[in-house]
Symmetry: D2
Subunit: 355 residues, 4 copies
């Protein structure tokens, strides 16, 4: 039986995250771009003219010549679902309009992440949370809904914690980041602010890192997500790195464990999508590097085409119990790539039928 | 009564720390450089030719034309004391030779820092530790000894902690750094290693940050320094910043305190050298900035001519009690400047008599 | 006879150039800031709140608490003259309004630079061009006028050429730049555009470099400036340097000369303000460094408090005759500092009387 | 007929160029690495331990576990030829030893580049120069010889000039570069030298850029290469870019031409390897981009897998006739990639028989 390609729209297609969606969906085996939607400023232009492209790989001709249309669900019957890379203040209104019209939204925006009726999902970690979406097999009608993927730093942190959490229970987490400039979008930071500098503050970031993992590690109760009681303290720094969020993490666990046992958690990790072979799923979702000075953004961010989170430097912590370093590609795993992987999971689970 | 200038030697004068000594001693009101000492490779050349100078301000003509001599105490009777910016593996042998010949050593090197009979001193924090040096007034003979100043990151951390520690008692510390490249000396890091990158490891740095503050906050017992039982966990990152070590710090205190009370500790800090007006003493040794995104290396490292440690972002910590950001200039406060301030203190306390 | 302080206004005081004016006028011996003027967005705020300050040195309390007022000449009788750091599209209308009301404008903006009735002056190079301004001694009334200083790259290039041009005549110039990011103002360039990158284009820059020096080296004819017939070809590159425009220059001269004779032009340069001792005048306006790898932005931009232009690497050119490297601080010599030096010259020449 | 894989050795395999050879030869369809040769320091270690790898992609397991052997031709009968990434001072002695033993050397080193009996070849530009190597079909014996590829900056410059030179004749060239730090190898430049800086000097680089293109555009005379009389003036700058040499070029041509005619030279370029389809040959060897601010290292260096040279900004030059910007990937097209393409050409022309 041949399976059809799904036609997807991109909300906020000209922004930094939108560009990553366009880049990563080129040649996708299941999804093809059917609409690039953006703000008034861009509407009516062809995408190639509307976008100030800043990724090395150029978008393909088909997308470049697509006309940018407004972020409205009117006349979008041809779309199977949409990806959203909208700014939060726009997403809060626009995304529900699509959902209400039966067009599912896979959103990379923070607006609905902490809504207990909206799943916040890293496929490897909490695929089960998708169960709170109306069952696709039971209803004849097309269903609209919103699912979200987490903040860029949360994506890396939660994936690095999950293998330990499953076996040993993570009770407390202290995380301090060194985050890449692409996280601020484009134009984002002025070079005057960051060349020969580091900034110990990223607006709104620490609360996300302290709450989103608790929801991801939470459980379903009466069709809502209840947050875990994991305690997290986060401090965030911006550094002059293009891509890749690096973080030092200290943890207190529920169970005592040796260094080898903890490394084995990462080495033997069986995730929620183990063996599914989704198109964007890396060979290894988490990889521990047993060398003294890794992971590093420049050397490790592109592992698994940017979808592998890298861990290193596991050692004892004098204040909590263990500490280690974590790295994730913020605009791939932590944004568009994570959202695409989530859409792939929704596809194989039946929410986006291909036949 | 006119006071004479003291004549000082610099051990390791051509290295990164040595260059900072030369730069900071230009126009010093009490000290003048009498000898620039370095390794075989440089001996016999004039300083201007021997050094690969990498600071913006050029050394004065007098120093540039001084002949580089070997790191030996022979014939050094004319020196009142020496500063040492030697590599640790050389300092361990050379510094005691000078001390044994009656030439005091003010050392920026790690070799003798943790020796309980050698004071490890930040003048503001633990000037009292100098008491374990033989009393200058009681002996007629010239006394040799070694005193040390701490690691660059420790200097900033301990100064930031001291005002809180005095009033409220600091029990546990978690510190994660973003450290400047000048800390690695010259040539130090290859640009290939750090451009568009950050490295979550600095060889030997974490143990220093976890032990040196405990000695600085320790007490004298039988003419030795006993370390404090403060518990410190450190994680270090190298970032693409020229100067200025930035760190996120979380603490647990002995006493409960409000945010205002903690800020008052910094605002009202009375240090061990309060009011002494030493030439290198900044108007404020620690300064709290009540703005959301500071301190930053580029904007704050030069406060107090690089001698002021800046603190910001005090807020509650979900895992310990409070967290904040700290910045110190690593090659001034954290190296040559700190050592010069220490020598100034030794001078006014009588160890280096000027009359 | 005591001389009074002159009270100056700053047009565009919150922008990148405006901030440099504020920083450089702190503690100026002749000028004190009497008004900080900016766009609607800032009007009514105190300067300290209106400005997103990005220079290491903070503005003094007096300026920080000054109220930002609109860019209009109404009620400005208290100002002796104004400095303008306005964007060109605003300067074109606003500056003449001030001049018409008798308030002289010393402008760093390009709008009127090429107007033959407006002097475009580097004090060392063409102080004589000020002669086309109405003579201050002959008229009883207060006179308004506009004088301009050149583009940042032109400032360095023309100063480096002037000593050779005076003795040997420069006929043709090929110049290729590597320009600092501060030249684009603040926020200016996104870090995403320039980290690990260089951009071989700066909007509008090449025409300025090809025409402004010709006006500076031009002569007065019927109270207008006639441009020189020097032929200049320029190519501009933006690089990841904070401050300091570096350029490679090749020249064809009217007269044959040896390498030593050309270096002597720079070493023995007698400029138009030789010996005047203006407050912002550096000891040496142009300095030749006879070492293989200089000038460099990091090491040489701050010579003469940013007012000295540095030259190096004089060698034969296979296509023209000689080539060399030039460096100038773009936001000091090339902007606010150059304009202040020009105002100082206007002061001693009688246009801004201090008694 | 099945064709066999050729077994190649790499001289200087642990250095910066050597690493690129290893990376680019992974999965090469014709060549497989049979020996990694390096200096005493590395000999006896497995390659993975001997090398301080600094490229994102890690070397494959097969190479990582290969034993590093000394740079001697003894016992190298199994090698079809060797690539050399040796430092020049070692290459000058070692490469001829291999050639003398019948092992051809494809060298990326400068040592023999200007020897009139050694071809200096960019396959697209002067494949014909290989004719001075002894004809492989005429001699039964295995022949040793040395062929070289040009300096990294020359590679880009000569490829950009060739399409114009063929049709219109290039008489004079002025080139000013902004070169990437990887050109200095590893560790190469200290980050202290180049962060927030640019250096207007690269040791030995300008003479290479002024002479190598003249040899490449030269002709064969009595089995030697005679250099062209093209006149080139070069000035070189190091900037904080990882990879990609950018340059501004001005030219004087033998024939008058319009802007469109010159762009047509690049658009319609028929190179010496047109249509050969060599494995490392990019779809387009030279590509003109008709946008205002390109080429840029970050955005364009990876075109054609780093083998395409990009040109932009063609405009009139007031001093010569035309000027434009050029970009080439210095460690791929300008080093290992260029040498591999050359070896591929030698293979199809019969010097390295595969059957």
């Amino acid at each position: 039986m041949t399976e059809r390609m799904l036609t997807v729209g991109i909300l906020g297609a000209t922004g930094a995250v939108g560009q990553r969606f366009v880049a990563l969906l080129a040649n996708h085996p299941w999804f093809r771009i059917g609409a690039v939607m953006a703000s008034e400023r861009s509407v009516g232009k062809v995408y190639g003219d509307a976008v100030q492209w800043h990724l090395p790989a150029v978008p393909g001709a088909a997308v470049r010549e697509m006309c940018v249309t407004p972020c409205t669900p009117d006349g979008r019957e041809g779309l199977d679902f949409v990806f959203s890379g909208l700014p939060a203040e726009e997403a809060v209104e626009i995304e529900p309009l699509f959902a209400a019209r039966g067009i599912p939204v896979v959103s990379n925006t923070r607006s609905h992440r902490m809504d207990p009726r909206v799943p916040l999902v890293i496929p490897e970690v909490n695929a089960g949370h998708l169960a709170i979406i109306p069952d696709p097999s039971r209803t004849g009608d097309r269903q609209g809904f919103i699912v979200t993927n987490p903040n860029c730093a949360t994506s890396a942190l939660a994936l690095a914690l999950d293998p330990i959490h499953r076996r040993l229970g993570v009770r407390k987490v202290m995380v301090v980041t060194a985050q890449a400039v692409s996280g601020a979008g484009f134009p984002g930071l002025s070079v005057m602010s960051i060349l020969d500098n580091a900034i110990p503050y990223i607006s709104g970031e620490e609360p996300k890192l302290e709450t989103e993992p608790c929801k991801i590690f939470g459980c379903i109760h009466h069709d809502q997500i209840m947050v875990s009681d994991m305690v997290i303290s986060a401090a965030c720094t911006r550094v002059a790195v293009r891509d890749g969020h690096l973080m030092h993490v200290s943890v207190e666990l529920n169970q005592l464990a040796s260094r080898d046992e903890i490394i084995a958690c990462w080495d033997d990790y069986i995730s929620d999508i183990h063996g599914l072979g989704l198109p964007s799923q890396p060979e290894r979702s988490v990889e521990y590097l047993d060398v003294p000075d890794r992971p590093q953004p420049l050397l490790d961010r592109d592992r698994g085409q940017g979808m592998t989170v890298t861990v290193g430097r596991l050692r004892e912590c004098a204040v909590l119990q263990w500490k280690f370093a974590v790295l994730g590609h913020n605009t791939i795993r932590g944004a568009a790539g994570g959202a695409i992987l989530l859409a792939e999971l929704l596809t194989v689970r039946g929410w986006f039928p291909r036949s």
